[in-house]
Symmetry: C2
Subunit: 344 residues, 2 copies
């Protein structure tokens, strides 16, 4: 737009300044010189984007704020996390993403280079998930009133035809399937935050849309889907057990856990089942579909370690237990899911 | 859900704690005891909501982060602002709201009573705009990493049939109409923040959907709509002048400004045209429609002070000028719109 833009550039700035949030020329420059090009958005910065969903489509709508600390970590950064957070919530509703929005809250003094890296990751992550950021908003707060930057990504998705997932469909006897090994994101964050540097633990941060597609293509009857982020597998299973009024029993030896993740948890006295994943899906399926579901997932690169990890029991409602390798049972504690703040 | 919830209540807490963001039992309690009931959401807290838009509908999608300081101010609070911010962005796209999402970023130590008031305002504001919050996300950051609470509200709207608004439709000769007096929100915030206490200045914080309906019902040809929030009327007109490649001339004596707002701006050396509104719409209409547009707006309680305040000129592109009561012209400075951080 240079040919018709009469505005001189402001003095160059390597960091976010309060004026960038004032709504005037500096805001216009921040958006047009930095944010919009990074997201591949050309033309005027409109306050709302136009969408034309397929006729008759059932839509899913979600939002996900990201406040992870640090902003960049092994295997990802807040931008990837923000996009996949929304995309994976849509997948858990049986939906493929149609459009994303991006709200940014920037702290005065944030290095412009960090913002660029995060925005580039947002664009890359969206492309990987087959979607685009189509609208956004950017605010600036004073130094000491945020922690670099926070995001909120909302997503609209199109629910796959014939899909009806939710706690209301969970039945005793259903099988809990994980699409991969669990706990990696939580340990990756802990590793960099506490300076522990567990070798080789990177976040599993990824879109699960392809895994949903694999299940749908194999015609698996899906009763419920959830992505086990904050609070990990344990928190998600507790929520489902409460909402569906059932008990869930997981078989610990069947749960895929990376050896480095297991070692880190052992060392720190943490339960890997309570550590966040950011690229996994738990699928609750009827027993007759479990083997086919796992076979279908394993064909996908991100589903190589798919496994059946538990079964739904009729009672007591809300109870989640784990059977150990010795056959003993321990009750999982919902509160124990509160291990780490600002994991996502 | 008490009859099937096996979880004991945690020790009562008057403030937000880090555990409320951990994803475990405390998070579940925060959502089910506080957030969901306040928003009128019953049942399980799903990560995504289902929507069925009218067949063939064109949708608009928007997002708006709110970081206003202080959280509560004369005429509103961050909750009302957050809802109307999204609703009014949809209205500026010619759309009526269909559904909202709410992302909350809460600071450790935030009084639960403040959260309750803000949530109640969000529910009230949504009801006033004829819409509901259908999905959300809640995160908690450490003390000193936010400023009480921040929100991001996203909205999906249904574009009214036949409406096509945007800078691309602006033509020389078009008239700029405001739906009401300008600058009130900015002065109301300034008043409480700097302890100036200008008597009687309250925020204009309100949904503009009814005003859009009034224009549509009168069959006004709408070329462009914008809500003059951050940066005020001046910033919006600059953006439109740049995006449409036109000049805009406003006639200062025609611009409705509350006497208390004018007095406060005079005292502080601020330009009321650069002060934020949060319940106004600027409509760019063909000259033949201007009088009918104003008449239609004035029938609405929020449109009593609707007025034609300027005209679009063919050149120079991006220039916004104001003609004074004496007939002289001054060029409005886009940079002068950066008067106040965290106005919204």
């Amino acid at each position: 737009m240079t040919e018709r833009c009469p505005l001189p550039s402001p003095p160059s700035s390597d960091v976010i300044q309060l004026a960038h949030g004032g709504g005037g020329r500096a805001t216009w420059r921040l958006l047009h010189d930095h944010v919009l090009p990074a997201l591949g958005l050309a033309g005027p910065a409109l306050d709302a984007a136009a969408l034309a969903p397929p006729p008759g489509a059932r839509l899913a709508f979600t939002t996900d704020a990201s406040v992870v600390r640090p902003l960049e970590f092994p295997g990802g950064n807040i931008g990837r996390l923000a996009v996949f957070g929304a995309v994976n919530d849509l997948a858990a509703a049986g939906a493929r993403p149609l459009a994303l929005s991006l709200s940014l809250i920037l702290e005065e003094g944030l290095a412009m280079a960090v913002l660029h890296r995060v925005l580039a990751s947002i664009a890359d992550a969206a492309a990987l998930a087959g979607v685009r950021v189509v609208t956004g908003d950017t605010k600036v707060v004073e130094r000491g009133k945020a922690d670099g930057l926070y995001t909120a990504v909302s997503g609209i998705g199109v629910v796959a035809p014939g899909v009806d997932v939710g706690p209301h469909r969970i039945r005793a006897g259903d099988v809990v399937v994980t699409t991969g090994d669990v706990g990696r994101h939580g340990v990756a964050i802990l590793s960099v935050r506490e300076g522990l540097g567990f070798e080789g633990v990177t976040s599993d941060c990824a879109p699960v849309t392809g895994l949903l597609d694999a299940l749908l293509a194999a015609d698996i009857e899906l009763h419920c889907l959830r992505d086990p982020t904050r609070g990990g597998v344990s928190a998600v299973l507790h929520e489902l057990a409460i909402d569906a009024g059932v008990a869930i029993a997981v078989h610990e030896p069947a749960i895929p856990i990376d050896p480095a993740v297991a070692a880190a948890c052992e060392l720190l006295g943490l339960d890997p089942l309570a550590m966040a994943c950011e690229g996994r899906l738990l699928a609750i399926v009827p027993p007759a579909h479990a083997d086919r579901a796992i076979a279908a997932l394993r064909v996908h690169p991100d589903g190589a370690r798919a496994a059946a990890i538990g079964v739904v029991e009729s009672a007591p409602a809300g109870r989640v237990v784990a059977t150990t390798v010795l056959g003993t049972r321990r009750v999982l504690d919902f509160s124990a899911s509160e291990q780490l703040p600002r994991i996502c």
